[in-house]
Symmetry: C2
Subunit: 350 residues, 2 copies
């Protein structure tokens, strides 16, 4: 059955999803946000996203944001491909005007921290805000270890789609599943979204150990993985604990651990972690990375803030989360990156 998928937001992740959808024989319409004007121009010119090495399959349709209503006309669902900086924009400019019956699948990773320490997912945030306007809408979301450029390469990828409406999720999976894009389904929205958001702070913590090894042994010191593995062990423990508090299902936790793994290896979170580990201050590290604003750091700080608030409220003990506290102290309080290793040991002898 041929469907129509409209992707709004032509950043890397949103755009990468055009490949599996189109290759499955569906119509794909890629809509840029007002920040994506040049990307859409370039796609129209060359059928290639400026950030990808591989061209789009011939037949993907491109729209500037002014044309978004036309692009969603007759679509089976909309993929929201904005970054976490575009969450409110997507609410105001798209969701508030979209037929509430049009299913939406969001790739935006992150959480919002409420003053009481509660962490809510973007789908829950959008739902609440829309309800205030009398609009009832569900939003589904994608989590899991997937970097966009690898999806474009058709690398084997495991993700999960979450949402409250199972029939919608199944329709989305049927549309998007390929021989390389493998989709689990869950109704555990807050669990999955928490799992893939939490990994940001922890990826930073694990990546710091790489920089610490460089500081100790020079950059070409060969294999040094004990400390990475020690931090990964602790990250797994703390993520599992936090996800239990969030009421996450175990499957969502495993997806989060896979996402942690891929984040340690790719991208800018790794780079800043290494720089901090090498002894650079946060400001120096940001200078070296040319002042790019890191979405992952925004999420890491929000999660840390919520955890500190939960601790104030007596809902958890910060002593159980030494790696989260450490990553936050290095990021924002000028602490040296050397990890509090002994705090990661346990004694559960009787």
């Amino acid at each position: 059955m041929k469907r129509t998928v409209t992707i709004i937001g032509s950043g890397m992740m949103g755009s990468a999803l055009a490949y599996p959808a189109f290759e499955n024989g569906h119509e794909v319409r890629l809509v840029g946000t007002p920040l994506d004007r040049e990307i859409i121009d370039e796609c129209r010119r060359s059928n290639k996203h400026p950030k990808f090495e591989i061209a789009f399959p011939e037949g993907v349709k491109y729209y500037q944001f002014e044309e978004w209503r036309e692009a969603v006309e007759g679509a089976d669902f909309v993929i929201g491909g904005v970054s976490s900086f575009g969450v409110d924009w997507f609410l105001e400019e798209v969701l508030a005007h979209l037929d509430p019956k049009m299913p939406v699948l969001s790739v935006t990773k992150g959480l919002i921290n409420l003053p009481d320490g509660t962490l809510i997912s973007y789908p829950a945030y959008w739902q609440t805000e829309l309800q205030k306007r009398g609009i009832e809408r569900e939003v589904c979301a994608i989590g899991g270890p997937c970097t966009s450029y690898e999806l474009v390469y058709h690398d084997q990828t495991e993700v999960a789609f979450c949402g409250k409406d199972t029939a919608t999720l199944k329709m989305m999976k049927e549309t998007m599943s390929t021989s390389y894009y493998h989709i689990s389904l869950t109704n555990d929205v807050i669990g999955l979204e928490s799992a893939v958001a939490l990994k940001n702070a922890y990826a930073l913590g694990v990546a710091m150990t790489i920089g610490l090894v460089n500081r100790e042994n020079g950059e070409n010191a060969g294999l040094h993985y004990n400390s990475q593995a020690g931090a990964f062990y602790q990250a797994t423990k703390e993520m599992s604990r936090l996800l239990k508090i969030q009421g996450a299902s175990e499957d969502s936790t495993y997806i989060g651990i896979g996402d942690l793994y891929v984040t340690v290896y790719g991208g800018r979170t790794r780079k800043i972690g290494i720089l901090l580990g090498e002894g650079k201050s946060y400001e120096e590290a940001m200078d070296i990375l040319a002042g790019v604003t890191l979405e992952s750091l925004v999420v890491a700080r929000r999660v840390a803030k919520a955890i500190y608030r939960k601790a104030e409220l007596g809902m958890l003990d910060l002593a159980d989360f030494p790696l989260m506290v450490h990553a936050n102290d290095v990021l924002d309080n000028g602490k040296d990156a050397q990890l509090p290793w002994e705090a990661f040991t346990f004694d559960n002898t009787k």
Copy 2:
């Protein structure tokens, strides 16, 4: 308090433990097995283990196996540093003759599979065999992400010591803890030993994805981590499931996941996994690796055998362990390494 630590088995892991023990001010006596004769000769000549780049601290004492009784005289505890091929040798030649009151800490990683699908730890195996001879002895053991050469480099390392006697464990931790060797303690022997044994098959499964990427994109294809992360997610899920069946504590599971992480990155398990992923047969891969016998593969096969037996007995469903089954099929049944990715997805929607 100055103690005396006698290490029997001068392979890399046993020998590496000389560093933290000696640096803490203790007397360290390193005893070679009959296979280690040249290592001990070399240590006596140069104070350096032939496999390590860094010399032993000045003052470590070396013994050939004939002198082992002298070497354990007055020791506070013995570290058993044999490989899993030396388990029976260690039983016959050392444990059967050692004062049952002399504490023993084993670094040998592995499990023994009984005909009914039960997996028992080496400490439990030794205990049972010694009981048949009227000897009552406990053996403590070490698990966790630690490669020996990195310990020699004083890299930050997190491990766990397990055993039934808490006072003994605490004495061992006090003796061995350093600013870089961080020790958790647990009475969960079977859980910890299972966790660090299970990681062998799963490290093979994750490493195969690296070879598969090479097969698809060439060896210098740059960053390709989605598939590694997808396999790591599945490995975490299956290990957690199997460890629940083994009655492991959650902390032991986290240590096992850290150990999986380090095993994917270092050593020969990674190498054979990559070769299998690239499309080599098991025999071709072993030829390339010059016919070395891989301890980790022995353990992987034993664990797989036990799991198949448990499935026959209706204690578990093999469909819940597609990565374990796959790794075993590639290893022993000539199956192509391409992973059964869709089998890794879950659907827990209502």
